[in-house]
Subunit: 426 residues, 2 copies
Amino acid sequence: MTDTDSLQDLVAACKAASRQVAGLSTDVKNRALGRMADALVAHETAILEANARDLDAAAERGLSDAMTDRLRLTPERIQKMADALGEVAGFDDPVGQVSDVRRRPSGIEVGRMRVPLGVIAMIYEARPNVTSDAAGLCFKAGNAVVLRGGSEAAWSNRAVAAALHDALAAEGLDPAAVTLVPTTDRDAIKDLVRMSDHLDLVIPRGGEGLIRFVDEHSRVPVIKHYKGVCHLFVDETADLDVALDLLLDGKLSRPGVCNALETLLVHESVAAGFLPRAHAELAANGGEMRGDETTRQILGGGVAPATDDDYHAEYLAPIVAVRVVDGLDAALDHVARYGSQHTEVIATESVGSARRWVREVDASVVLVNASSRFSDGGELGLGAEIGISTTKLHAFGPMGLEALTTQKFVVHGAGETRHAVPPRAS
Amino acid sequence: MTDTDSLQDLVAACKAASRQVAGLSTDVKNRALGRMADALVAHETAILEANARDLDAAAERGLSDAMTDRLRLTPERIQKMADALGEVAGFDDPVGQVSDVRRRPSGIEVGRMRVPLGVIAMIYEARPNVTSDAAGLCFKAGNAVVLRGGSEAAWSNRAVAAALHDALAAEGLDPAAVTLVPTTDRDAIKDLVRMSDHLDLVIPRGGEGLIRFVDEHSRVPVIKHYKGVCHLFVDETADLDVALDLLLDGKLSRPGVCNALETLLVHESVAAGFLPRAHAELAANGGEMRGDETTRQILGGGVAPATDDDYHAEYLAPIVAVRVVDGLDAALDHVARYGSQHTEVIATESVGSARRWVREVDASVVLVNASSRFSDGGELGLGAEIGISTTKLHAFGPMGLEALTTQKFVVHGAGETRHAVPPRAS
């Protein structure tokens, strides 16, 4: 038996289990999620031992401190993973919701029922908590899940999956509903994402290289989340204190995330009043500006010039590129050219500017007088978040449980036919 | 300049036009659709001349009668194309609809606004009416469209597109919003569907070969509509007159379409009562049965045996495969194994069986006591239909205007930040 065969068998078993998961009542799913949470805590020793093996291997391979930290589990982190599963149990179950029911002229009654997607493959990198987080969200939405974690976390992921399997079995459910792919080489990803007969969706979580690799080889629909190049436009009517708050929260509260601000656009009529304050506040908090010619004239020599690359950059650092623009149109043009369709903010007191921003900016989250950092499933009210889609198909922006489902049409009739049936022969 | 370059230029121009289309008011879009309808009629002579060239070429190449009929345009058919554009003008505009608005604990107000996808590529075969139908639907939903028709209809498509361009220009709009790709070779499809920077969605319409080819090469999300292997299950409590109507309408009213019935499943307790009548009525109307052992025992020698291939078949002909099953579970298992997730019907008077069918059948349209032929955008109330998706991502089942849009999050605040901002330095 080749590796592809055994992978195929694993995924086929997951597909078979998906029919069971799709039919579970909310109560059973929530009880199983509670058991999964308990099992993580009960398996703490085994999970920490497995994690220690991964950490040893990481040290040998000279993994960076940041990566090692992501990989590391502690009793507290295991408790957080368990708590997250408990939270998922508390979310509304989207499966079975029926909407848009109406009677048609033909007499039939048509509605749309929310149903699971089927089997979702998650492909991710070092963080072992994704194993339980993704399993919980997919399961609550009635899906089976194939998990393919990174090689750095191979032992940890197996130990976490073993705990989840115990919980499923204790609830009398098929453990294949949560299937961990044991091989961690890239060829296995290629084989996996070609299994369009068994998989309904692939979600890669990780660096741009991983996402592009998956997208390049997949025959299954992929939901991608690429970088966020998020802008704040300070309009001529902006409340400059509000604008400053949005800049500081957006850029400094967590510079390494995708909903952090990268570029500040300032209306020329408020540039001289706003930029010196913004520069001083950023500098006082470890931030840095790179500016266009006008910005540098206003601020004097201390600001490095911003190049075209700067306007394209997702810095993941407390740096902000600055451009002074002559109005809303120029700001919209800049965002259309450099934006990543992720998250875009305007600070304005003008109802007209707010309306145009909301309508005309092509991004998954557009905000008026609110921080880009609210572009997050929890903050927007989705409950949980399994990713932030930067593609427009199926889901655009933060994805919660509903994005892990689809809708089918449900029709009730009393024998209606579309055409008159032929008169009976007998 | 290579062909790929010029294709790239065309698609880039379409992408540039998409920003204009996305921002148009409903009134302007409807007026432009009216102008498109008028232009088709005004260009009738040119369109018929172009169509004659395609028909000559078809005759030379010995195109089948069915294909030639699909290709042929007449004044009546051109009028129908114009009427269809007029109908699209009458549909509700999904763009700009805001739903699910709620205040979050942080104070921000979050809603979801329906927005165009951007640029949609339609790849289709012989029917020139798809050129105006697809252009009208994509345009009404605020999208620009790249049309790549088949070589058989190359002249006709160009003449239709020229009429649409005149109408767009007369309304002061960029004609690139409806872009016809002039090359019709398959390599051009390959180049086209790799332009993920410019395209948001690809919809192939045509045979399974075309769809698989597009799916294999696309780097852009593809919505597929494969075959429909649709079942009617006659439950033990079925009203047999209703069941017979559903069978005759489902199988005979138009056997060549994807929502026609292919397989009849009959509960064993009503098989002896139902099958002889069904067989007689089908036979009286040119239909044919292929049956399992039990069916053939009930009906005697005149029925050919049904093989596994029959249960997988989309006949596109007045043939129905028949199987007698021992209950709802066996029917559900058969549908899970052989169904194509398209359209599935139960005839039953049992509320319990109806409920299980609706919940447990994994198909885009599930019907109780209503004909499979209602699985159609117009009949289900979507207004128009641009296809029937058999994949679950983004759209599942008949796709109307809404399926040509997505939703973005819109947030209004009063300066809220996610974290407390640092105290002012100055």
